[in-house]
């Protein structure tokens, strides 16, 4: 009789634990989302200051606006560049918005910049690096994620960037 009572409790308890474990695993799997897209950027503002310590050394700040063509998102990024003859580093922040202009995410990014001359002798800037969701933002509390990006200049002030990563929501 006692054994039967134990079984009556044990079976539903095991089922409940199993259901709970499966639902947790499922929700964890759902939270990790792979993302990738191509962004077209155009530079809207740029200012540079020459650093006299070395020839061709500048510190530059730029604002660029863009669009994530697949995800249909608007983007604005502001970066600081530290370049010697077109090569160096960049770091900055990006705001992602829906087509209605409502902010959806804040990101930070950093990367390396390499410039070279094209066959026609025009300077071409390329860059690659990493991005990460800025986690502090209130409405995005708990959101995290990051990934990599590669960017290439296609003409003066116009860039194409391929990026990918994972976002956890």
């Amino acid at each position: 009789m006692e054994q039967f009572q134990k079984r009556r409790i044990a079976i539903p308890l095991s089922v409940a634990i199993l259901i709970f474990a499966l639902s947790v695993m499922n929700s964890i799997a759902e939270e990790k989302k792979k993302v990738s897209d191509t962004t077209y950027w155009f530079v809207t503002k740029t200012e540079a200051i020459k650093v006299n310590e070395a020839k061709g050394h500048i510190i530059q700040i730029s604002e660029s606006k863009g669009i994530n063509v697949g995800r249909k998102e608007l983007t604005i990024c502001r970066n600081i560049y530290d370049l010697v003859k077109g090569n160096g580093t960049l770091r900055g922040y990006t705001t992602l918005m829906g087509l209605d202009g409502k902010v959806t995410k804040f990101l930070k990014q950093e990367g390396k910049v390499i410039s070279f001359l094209s066959a026609e002798g025009k300077p071409i800037m390329t860059a690659e690096g990493t991005w990460a969701v800025v986690p502090e933002h209130g409405s995005w509390g708990g959101s995290e994620g990051g990934g990599t990006w590669k960017l290439k200049m296609v003409s003066d002030g116009i860039f194409i960037m391929d990026w990918e990563g994972e976002i956890v929501e």
Partner: protein, 176 residues
Amino acid sequence: MNTKKSMVIWVFIGIFIIFLLLFLTTNSAQAQLTMKFKIFNNVVKFEFMPFPDEKGHGVGIMSREGLALFENGEVGNQSAVLALDMKENTVKLDVVTTIVLRDGSSFVFRTKGTGEKSPDGKLWFTKQTGDFLRGTGKYEGIKGTINIVGTQYGMAEAGKGHWIADVTASYTLPSK
């Protein structure tokens, strides 16, 4: 007898090696020097772009120019270019500073640090550390570290944002 002789030879060789090492280390060691000076400058150019994740946050670049006043009475022209990541009450700094003395000698150092706004919002207290990048003239081949503690008075605008800083550098110069 032979064993005694070889022991004496080995002792002499040992003493010779010790003297040789002492001689080499004494000659290759460069004297560690200390330099103290004050920087007094103001903002020449400031470009700031906001990042709206929180109030007052953004990135900026800035140039500053002023004077470096050394303990030994020497005076130099000082210029610096800064990359800034600012929030309402704090700032992260990445700075390249050039100092040119009256005799034409110069040195360049790069420092990183932070700043904090005073509770009344009128002052910014900054701390930076870094390394010498290069030098010319009497500072040719300079190597070492830099510590800077400074205060900015007033707003960071062109012609304003006066900054006074105490600089302590520990450095070596190549032996001639």
